[in-house]
Symmetry: C2
Subunit: 266 residues, 2 copies
């Protein structure tokens, strides 16, 4: 492993420790760039197999990169000493499909039958886009990425069903083409976009009013480009109504020890 | 080599022979699919080095796949027994930059100082698009692809300069994204598109009036997608005004023995 990779993993470990100590409770976008960040879904075992199938059925919006053993809050395949009860800056807690609270740890809520799922996140390719000179507008403007619910149905699995959530980043067409090439290399981070251009074609009414995250500016000649988003499961959870479900707060992810490039293709 | 490849090369040889006997003088689009077809530029040696640099400077519109020895009308790196004087269905002859005639052979015009250049052609990726279920509209409608002069300047070399010519194929955004991925695999056939969406952003006024080839229909929800085109050199030749230059007629290409897949990446 190179010296720069070692330095990055040291930074990653420090960031995860700072999150664990609740010193960092904000978004993780732009931090520890170069390692994968993950969307989090924690469910009771009774719902876990159906959710596993839901991810399998919807690999673009739900690219699974890690699943815990039942009741085990570590995640050894994604990083040393990960504690799923503490290592997310902010958790959302859903009961019967409704979001009831947000917390900075879930130690008091952890159950012996819980299974944690980690899904790849578009932050992985944001790093690659920035390195190619195509810095996403949300990073330029220092805000959370814009996220929208679409009318693109997911493939249901058991009690899990709902529409796909997308992130949006604006580019001029020439740069959008390059962005499609670059993000295609990262299938475990949602890969290529689902759509570009007309928001209404996928059921988005107003780009200035994202359902999650922040609005970003569109400039002359730019088109909105839409990628599948790991917030998609949160809509399916609302529909599945499990007695309890815990997710990350949008934009505040699990920081792993896996390099983005480790899961890149080509 | 597989049996199917042998069969394809037999078909290719027969097509080239039919062209040589002037039995086939039409477009080569959709014929001998699976082998590369080439754009043709034949110039006197005095202009050849500058044109070689022009191709090097503009590799997306002018992806060189073969260059002959001075005065040699064979092209052994691209096929057995190719005769550049006879093996194109229709030639255009330019004198001092003006097109003066079209011919079905150039035996009477061949000079000892001539150099033939062969450039990759988007027909190579049309085959891959069709296999992926994204059959280009021009193939569906049985016409020549639409070609347009843009306001995108090429990088000049000596006396050669001019704007880029593009081909246009309409797709809905979802399919355009897949088409970008597929055509990216074929850098020697112009690779990924240069632009999509607004034609006016690249200087195209009316999609129903292509400068070369035929118009195709745009359907509800589709956007035009634009790829660089091997007709680009013909504009540069008009500007360079060599005493003589011979090209293929748009859509009527040199059929080579090289499989499309031989020059694909990934």
């Amino acid at each position: 492993m190179s010296q720069s990779s070692l330095t990055l993993l040291q930074q990653t470990s420090e960031l995860r420790q700072a999150i664990r100590r609740k010193e960092h409770t904000g978004p993780t976008s732009g931090l520890a760039t170069g390692v994968m960040q993950g969307n989090v879904v924690i469910l009771p075992a009774d719902y876990a197999n159906e959710f596993l199938l839901f991810c399998q059925n919807n690999p673009v919006s739900c690219p699974l990169i890690g699943v815990s053993e039942i009741g085990d809050y570590s995640m050894p395949m994604l990083g040393k000493d990960i504690d799923m009860r503490h290592d997310i800056p902010e958790y959302y807690v859903y009961r019967n499909g409704d979001k009831v609270e947000s917390r900075t740890d879930i130690e008091a809520l952890w159950q012996d039958d819980m299974v944690a799922f980690i899904l790849g996140c578009s932050f992985s390719f944001e790093h690659a886009l920035s390195q190619a000179g195509l810095t996403p507008r949300n990073i330029e403007e220092g805000v959370n990425v814009s996220m929208f619910e679409t009318n693109i149905a997911t493939t249901p699995a058991g009690r899990f069903h709902g529409n796909t959530v997308v992130t949006m980043r604006p580019y001029v067409p020439k740069d959008a083409i390059r962005a499609i090439q670059i993000t295609s290399r990262f299938p475990k981070a949602h890969g290529a976009p689902l759509h570009f251009g007309t928001p209404e074609a996928i059921g988005i009414k107003d780009l200035s009013k994202p359902e999650f995250g922040d609005a970003v500016s569109l400039r002359e000649g730019e088109v909105p480009v839409f990628w599948a988003c790991g917030v998609t499961p949160q809509l399916a959870i609302r529909n599945a109504k499990p007695p309890i479900c815990i997710t990350h707060a949008p934009g505040k992810m699990l920081v792993t020890d896996i390099l983005d490039t480790d899961l890149a293709v080509f």
